[in-house]
Symmetry: C3
Amino acid sequence: MSTITRLDSGPRMSQAVVNNGTIYLAGQVGTADASITEQTQDILKKIDALLERTGSDKHHMLQAVIWLSDMKHFAEMNAVWDAWVEEGSTPARACGEAKLATPSFDVEIIVTAAVKG
Amino acid sequence: MSTITRLDSGPRMSQAVVNNGTIYLAGQVGTADASITEQTQDILKKIDALLERTGSDKHHMLQAVIWLSDMKHFAEMNAVWDAWVEEGSTPARACGEAKLATPSFDVEIIVTAAVKG
Amino acid sequence: MSTITRLDSGPRMSQAVVNNGTIYLAGQVGTADASITEQTQDILKKIDALLERTGSDKHHMLQAVIWLSDMKHFAEMNAVWDAWVEEGSTPARACGEAKLATPSFDVEIIVTAAVKG
């Protein structure tokens, strides 16, 4: 029933895991201490790359969970997000406040996507 | 492999995304500044409606992640939740504290469900 | 399309829900007020047991979301995590700070896994 594929698989986590046509990405973070805009752009670039390598793309995202270190970054993160997603293929989304691995990170995005048909 | 269906799909997110028999709902929030009880009731009503429109119902929930703006709301949210779910069909659940999009929201629920067989 | 199986299903939640070859575990917590090391060990033991009962194991994890009550516990939790997972089968992972159900709990882990093929 399961033939699991893993990408950039390290001793702590894999950056992407694919099973049964569904892709689970690790929480992606951007460049430490960069602006919210830059961190978000970094993250979306990483997501684009991981989705491409797993036979998917941003139009096949199913769900995105976004963590912000402080909700005051909501508008700045959203401006980058809104420019990246495309109406007609936006995922289910949730966004909440959570401190991240280190105080240098302000945005983390966890994506679930489908392999392209 | 994937035929993705989206409901109430806007420029930022879709309220529901269905793929391969699995339904991913956006994080649902209630009426701003309402009581915890009312917010939770609003959310569960929205979840009922989205699940019905995607060919599912609360008895086919797989996972629910609940965010509370403050854990002091745990008991009040649970009272509404417990009255809504039915023993025998309860989902896997996790509940943690996270500030939400604006301070007017105290409860957010993210549901994954199965399309009815 | 769906034949949902539930384990340790109570009036509020099920500890595991299986559908279409995918296993969703409830957020697992450890012994109240124990050290971070012990709480994490407890959690991983519970995850091992639930995965075994659903026809899976830690090598078939797809995604793990980890909540810590305070990010200062990151290194201590990771030491236990790193000793438990095995390179080559690590899941996609995300870790953020969230207060949990009661202040006695400092670690909660939410796992998605695949039924063994």
